[in-house]
């Protein structure tokens, strides 16, 4: 379900038969299997790691954008804001079939 922790790719070994790398979680490093994100990541990217596997690349742009909305929340009218948050989120979502 479950414990998926974001970390930064510090090293990558895509030549290995099973793509792997070292992910830095902030002072803790571990070898992580990158097979499920291999085509989309490079060193410095953030990934979500579950049981030693990177299961997604963190979409940093989306993360920044949506966090901004949260941060600005204090400045908007409360009642209005909840509707706007929902609306902005739906508008911002990429509606694509393929990644």
């Amino acid at each position: 379900m479950c414990l998926g922790i974001p970390g930064r790719i510090a090293e990558m070994d895509t030549d290995a038969e099973l793509a792997s790398g070292i992910v830095d979680f902030g002072g803790v490093k571990r070898e992580v299997c990158l097979a499920y994100v291999a085509d989309e990541v490079e060193i410095g990217d953030y990934v979500i790691v579950h049981v030693g596997f990177a299961i997604a690349k963190v979409d940093e742009q989306e993360a920044e954008r949506t966090f901004e909305i949260l941060r600005e929340m204090d400045q908007l009218d409360e009642l209005q804001a909840s509707g706007e948050v929902a609306a902005e989120r739906s508008l911002g979502q990429p509606r694509v079939e393929d990644q």
């Binding site: 414990l3 002072g27 803790v28 490093k29 571990r30």
Partner: protein, 371 residues
Amino acid sequence: MPPTTVTVDFARLRPSISMEGSPLAQGPNCPIPLTDQERIQLAHGSGGKLSATLVRDRFLPHFSNEALTKLTDAAVVEVDAGRIAISTDSFVVQPLEFPGGDIGSLAVHGTLNDIAMMGAEPLYLSAAFVLEEGLLLETVDLIVASMAKAARAASVPIVCGDTKVVERGKADGVFINTTGIGKLDPDFAPTPEKAAVHDAIIVSGPVGRHGIAVMAAREGLKLEVEVESDAATLYPLVAKLRESAGANVHVLRDPTRGGLASALNEIAGSAGVGVELEEHSLPIPGPVNAACELLGFDPLYVANEGILLAFVDQSACDGALEALRSHPLGAEAAVIGRVVTQHAGLVTLRTAIGSTRIVDMLPGDQLPRIC
């Protein structure tokens, strides 16, 4: 740990026991292969020549002090008349070596700290070893040297000891027991019963380093962590606290196994007071936090070996903090909570988002989880 009464058994280390005719007494013709002479053998614990050699060549050079070198059945030392504190602890950590220490230094610091938490000045230590057959002598050297270094740094001699050897498979490398004696100060005797409402609860340094360092060093989890065990002798900090706050220091405790949560629960329970912690005040180093997130651990339950908890009267809090921070070991001392009138016997935490939850004792160790 509270002081315990202990009976110490000392091995007879008489080099004069005759080993004539025994294969161990033979020289270069000895049938034991050369490699085995680099390892602990059962004979090392039998009280005979090999035992004597072990003590003489591997222990004495490191632990040397007058009381020990006499090698009498019991060490004779000077103590002031009156009450003394005694504490004993056994150490069974795996792996034997980890970033920042080893089972040896841990065994020294651990018992010295138990004495110090009584407000007592540690005076003497004993060290008993149960060695597993097959343990590398090189490892013994490392451990003994480490113990000696730790004891010397604390100015506490190891005055007596014992060595036994058990068969392969019966001792996880080595088990060490240390017993310590300390001099009590009648005017400075912190105990849980003295905990008072509105006391400030201070932690002397960053939380969770030892447990994470040891966990990371274990084979299974393959974590590389930028954190070392904090194992250290805490008496200098206790001395600082005594100097600055005296009888206003109500409780002292080193939060070892079970972490802050267990230590605070024990104090809250035995003192019948409530404890409230502030999550945002807890000094948790980044790597400890990251390792805990990865494994699903709570830093409040992770073992520490080089920090202390102090319950200090609120009037003496600022002075106590300053005193701790004036020593390198206490540089990051912080107030993490207070004693409250409500929920006697329970520990609560006010979270960063403003809610409150109970911090309970765990039934056992934390286990790495997936969910």
